[in-house]
């Protein structure tokens, strides 16, 4: 396939790309929030006097009427919102950082200062901020959310098979809460034109914003237009309507002027969803020949007091291998936090980290090479549904990766390998999988008088390269240059714009565009088509509700797969952990655009390295909230932490899933990176560390002395 480079690269690097908050309509007012300084309780009084007296302040609102500001609805409870808690609608404080007053002012400096001057008195209550907190409440997920989606997965007879197993690993893994930290702060510009409402916001789900606002504010969805041309990173944090949006719209209507809100970084950490803290107990059994016979995955996951955010960890850990007996038990632990949510590879990152760590432990216990062990437990059938996979080239990912990485040079025993300078070396491997879901999408294609082909479609451009993938498809199908293709998406004027997430964007949008192109090629000058999903789903999507099909389809189950190979070096004197190289081989069906695909994988690997070695939200249990709520203190990786990342693809079209042969890639890219790192650290040190992140603080210094003996000479790595 001919590759189109990123079609929006030029706009982005020249600063022409306009993001939500870049809009500055005439008469714009600026909004800012004052936020709660307790973690749970009741507001007694909010003192706004000083703030209101400030020159340039237009209004300060602490409470909207319950009739004008309706209740929000949680996206995972059949609604549209990131959570079901609506600030400024009552006196309850559910988490530290919850908005308690909304300021409108003539400029952003005054707005923020006015917000800082607002104080409140509270009746605080005891709160819980982590899994083991006294006030936390633990629920069995399948009872708390009695729908199939949230159910545990069970097949075979794990207890009996485990009892019969020759070798058993039973270990508990701790994964911290993490934040997506997209560079673009949460923000919106809202504007009324008579009774029509225009929202500019970087969102993955323009449809939910439109329908959620309509429901909360008692409007007709047709009155509301949402535009989301670009996102400065989303990763799940922009997958639904945020609680700030409805108050902003009301404030703009009262003021009769457009309003812009840009949350501060601190506020973005405290109001947006995040990856919840989890604990995983994994029990694995193998028979005498080194085949895994039984697996149990038990999960405790944080949720908020007001919402049940369902965990979906078992979906993937049950399918990594052909293990005949499996049982999961997912529990939700209620804390006083904003509702956590989806962050790139939401369940797969923590779940597969734990599972693939245990698999590695088991391989070591039976004395097997970790690649050979994984290959020996591969499967062509989905053990959950019993159906064949639409395509599964995980074995090839492993074989190809091992070959290119030079795996045969790896000593089997851990803690034994040092370089000339005495630094310890470890090599680790792990696999990942991610469900291939699809969401309804429609596309319209038209040839303009000047010969340009205009594509209007559902889907959001989050930097993942959807626009480029669509452009690639059109240039290939019609044999025209990329300059003649124009793509409009993320805009409710051209489609219903349901959620783009779960790596389903490309696989959902391309088939719709392809179908429309077929009609065009058949001689129409304009054409419109859907991607062929059932009407019931399409209706949900048209109304802004989450509507995903898969990963089990009538006759097959569809997943993307990946294998990661990681080298770590631990510096002898300092113990510093370096990752000089990573190699990832992905099976994502057909590669729709090599440039953006490789970039997706590299981004996933970078994030996986950070998840393993750095990222965690720090909470003071006395206070709630997050202490390290800034880019400076929340340690996402920087360039200096990242070395070589090589990416390869199996690149074989999936024959069953859709006409384009593509499966998702964005999320699977990250899955399995963290366990490959921790498995490599084990290989370097002989230590199994079961709590992320693993830092220099967890590892003793001191590899071997270099063979040359004590040092006053020779070269060693410098700091």
């Amino acid at each position: 396939m001919s590759d189109v480079l990123r079609v929006d690269a030029r706009e982005k690097v020249t600063g022409k790309a306009r993001y939500g908050a870049d809009r500055t309509p005439e008469g714009l007012l600026h909004a800012a929030f004052a936020t709660a300084t307790i973690a749970r309780g009741r507001i007694v009084e909010v003192d706004t006097a000083e703030s209101e007296a400030l020159a340039g302040v237009v209004s300060v609102t602490t409470r909207f009427g319950e009739d004008e500001l309706g209740p929000p609805s949680f996206v995972m409870g059949g609604g549209y919102g990131t959570q079901s808690l609506q600030p400024l609608r009552g006196d309850r404080i559910a988490h530290r950082g919850q908005p308690i007053a909304l300021v409108l002012a003539e400029n952003p400096v005054v707005a923020n200062h006015a917000a800082e001057l607002i104080t409140a008195t509270y009746e605080p209550e005891a709160h819980a901020s982590h899994l083991d907190a006294d006030q936390a409440e633990t629920l069995l997920q399948r009872e708390a959310i009695p729908i199939p989606f949230a159910d545990d997965l069970t097949f075979g007879d794990a207890e009996t098979d485990m009892a019969a197993a020759q070798t058993v690993v039973d270990a508990t893994y701790e994964h911290p809460a993490q934040n997506a930290t997209p560079l673009e702060l949460l923000s919106a510009v809202v504007q009324w034109h008579e009774d029509r409402l225009l929202i500019h916001e970087g969102t993955q789900n323009a449809g939910a914003l439109r329908n959620g606002l309509a429901r909360q504010l008692n409007l007709d969805p047709q009155q509301i237009e949402v535009r989301s041309r670009y996102l400065g990173g989303a990763f799940g944090q922009r997958n639904a309507q945020h609680p700030y949006l409805a108050p902003l719209v009301l404030a703009a209507r009262r003021a009769g002027r457009p309003v812009k809100l840009v949350l501060t970084r601190q506020q973005t950490f405290h109001q947006a969803s995040f990856r919840p803290q989890t604990r995983h107990r994994i029990t694995l059994g193998a028979d005498a020949t080194g085949r895994m016979t039984a697996a149990v995955h038990e999960i405790d996951q944080q949720t908020s007091r007001h919402d049940l955010f369902p965990g979906g960890y078992a979906k993937v850990t049950s399918r990594l291998y052909g293990i005949p007996s499996y049982r999961s038990r997912q529990r939700l632990v209620r804390n006083d936090i904003q509702t956590p949510g989806y962050v790139r590879a939401p369940f797969e990152q923590p779940g597969v980290w734990a599972f693939e760590s245990a698999v590695d432990e088991l391989a070591a216990r039976v004395g097997a090479d970790p690649v050979a062990f994984r290959l020996a437990n591969d499967t062509s059938h989905d053990p959950v549904s019993g159906l064949p996979f639409s395509s599964r080239h995980l074995g090839e990912c492993l074989r190809r990766g091992a070959q290119a990485f030079g795996w045969e040079q790896r000593p089997l025993a851990p803690g034994d390998w040092t370089d000339d300078e005495g630094n310890r070396i470890g090599w680790g491997v792990a696999v990942g999988a991610y469900p291939a879901n699809v969401t309804p999408a429609r596309a319209r294609v038209r040839v303009e008088p000047d010969g340009t082909v205009l594509v209007e479609t559902d889907g959001h451009e989050m930097g993942q390269g959807l626009t480029s993938a669509v452009t690639s498809l059109v240039t290939r199908e019609l044999g025209i240059p990329a300059e003649q293709v124009r793509v409009r998406l993320g805009d409710t004027r051209v489609g219903a714009q349901p959620l783009t997430a779960g790596s389903w964007g490309t696989a959902s949008t391309l088939p719709a565009v392809q179908a429309a192109l077929e009609q065009l090629k058949a001689g129409e000058s304009g054409a419109e088509a859907g991607n062929g999903l059932p009407t019931a789903l399409a209706d949900r999507a048209a109304n802004g509700l989450v509507a995903a099909a898969g990963p089990v389809y009538g006759e097959f189950a569809a997943f993307s797969f990946i294998a990661h190979f990681v080298e770590v070096r631990l510096e002898r004197v300092t113990g510093r952990i370096r990752v000089p190289r990573v190699l990832s081989v992905a099976d994502c069906g057909r590669v729709a655009n090599r440039v953006t695909a490789a970039s997706q994988v590299r981004g996933g690997v970078v994030w996986g390295l950070g998840a393993a070695l750095r990222e965690h939200l720090v909470t003071d249990p006395r206070l709630g909230g997050f202490l390290n709520a800034s880019l400076e203190e929340y340690p996402i990786s920087v360039n200096a932490d990242i070395c070589a990342i090589d990416v390869d693809f199996v690149d074989r079209p999936d024959p069953l899933l859709n006409s384009s042969g593509v499966k998702g890639l964005g999320e699977v890219a990250m899955v399995g990176v963290a366990p490959a790192v921790t498995n490599a650290i084990w290989h370097a040190t002989g230590q199994r560390l079961r709590k992320l992140p693993i830092t220099i603080a967890d590892l003793p210094a001191g590899g071997r002395r270099p063979p040359s003996g004590p040092s006053t000479g020779g070269s060693r790595p410098t700091g």
């Binding site: 800082e116 206070l623 990786s637 920087v638 220099i696 210094a701 040092s711 006053t712 700091g719």
Partner: protein
């Protein structure tokens, strides 16, 4: 952010006069600390006096006896200066280990030395004796993993985080200041103060005093700076160490050394006891590690910060060994 008035001084005299007339005032260099803390509401000057256009502050001179660095020189310029690359590699190492390329392009040497001590509670809205004297210390019973293990008091354990000052102390630098009472010079060792019962005061400058230059005596000592941190850029130290030393030409034992801890104490922390102990010993790994342990002997493990004592030990050992590898 509280409103403030911005003034620009073009001469030293003008800067001092403005500072006296328009108090409470703060000098503005790169602004990477000052504006940051003003946005957090921690610093609330009524006047900000920009000293970036004062020509005397931006010179860099190397003589036989000393390197004189104007306080307005940018971190990145100093790190790249030939004089520094050739004669004071530890300054370059420490500068490049600090902050980010973007911040280093803005930040000045004077502002760098006076960057405030760090503590997550100080920057938040929680009780903090440094931000609001007498309000209490949230770190004492809280998450103290980033707090000082040396030099703290019951009132405050915020860390002095600067990399440059740590290195400059190992070079025995001095600071020239100009104030309402005229010019004076003080040893860098006397610039920063431990919190004691006045944690709001990080340094010993008198009101209105301006740092004009830093003086670094010429040296032929071997030198190295090691910094251990959560990520390899854009991160303050969990622990760091600056070492300068000379070896006996015949026996290769340590003749003279200075060992300074960074990121571990409430101020740059020179450990003379270790320097004495090192005298006459061979620079081998066991000695380096023992020196590291000695340097941290009096450190407090607190609730969550014991790991930094271990990292401090490793940083000292690594800096000693790396310094030893250099050619004189």
């Amino acid at each position: 952010m509280y409103p403030f008035e911005y003034r620009r001084a073009s001469t030293l005299e003008q800067a001092l006069r403005m500072s006296a007339d328009l108090a409470p005032a703060a000098f503005l260099a790169g602004g990477t600390t000052l504006y940051d803390l003003m946005k957090l509401g921690v610093e609330r000057p009524v006047t900000v006096i920009d000293v970036n256009r004062i020509p005397e502050l931006s010179h860099l001179r190397l003589s036989r006896s000393a390197l004189v660095i104007g306080s307005g020189v940018r971190m990145s310029d100093l790190a790249d200066a030939r004089e520094v690359r050739e004669s004071f590699p530890i300054i370059r190492e420490a500068l490049l280990a600090g902050a980010t390329a973007q911040i280093r392009n803005m930040a000045s040497i004077g502002g760098n030395l006076l960057q405030r001590t760090r503590c997550t509670y100080f920057r938040g809205t929680h009780p903090c004796n440094k931000r609001v004297p007498g309000s209490g210390c949230s770190a004492r019973e809280g998450i103290d993993e980033g707090q000082a293990v040396l030099g703290g008091s019951e009132h405050c354990t915020a860390v002095y985080p600067g990399d440059l000052a740590t290195a400059l102390l190992a070079l025995d630098a001095a600071v020239d200041v100009l104030g309402p009472d005229g010019a004076r010079s003080l040893a860098l060792a006397d610039l920063h103060r431990a919190p004691g019962d006045r944690p709001e005061q990080d340094h010993t400058l008198r009101p209105g005093e301006l740092i004009t230059a830093v003086r670094v005596p010429a040296t032929r000592m071997r030198q190295a700076y090691t910094k251990l941190r959560p990520r390899e850029s854009y991160s303050f130290a969990w622990a760091s160490a600056a070492v300068t030393l000379s070896l006996h030409p015949d026996t290769a034992t340590i003749e003279q050394s200075r060992v300074v801890l960074g990121g571990l104490a409430t101020r740059p922390w020179r450990v003379r006891a270790v320097e004495d102990w090192l005298h006459g010993r061979p620079l081998v790994e066991a000695v380096a590690l023992e020196a590291g342990r000695l340097a941290l002997r009096d450190a407090e493990a607190g609730r969550h910060k014991a790991f930094r004592i271990d990292l401090g030990t490793r940083a000292v050992a690594d800096a000693l060994l790396r310094a030893g590898e250099q050619h004189e």
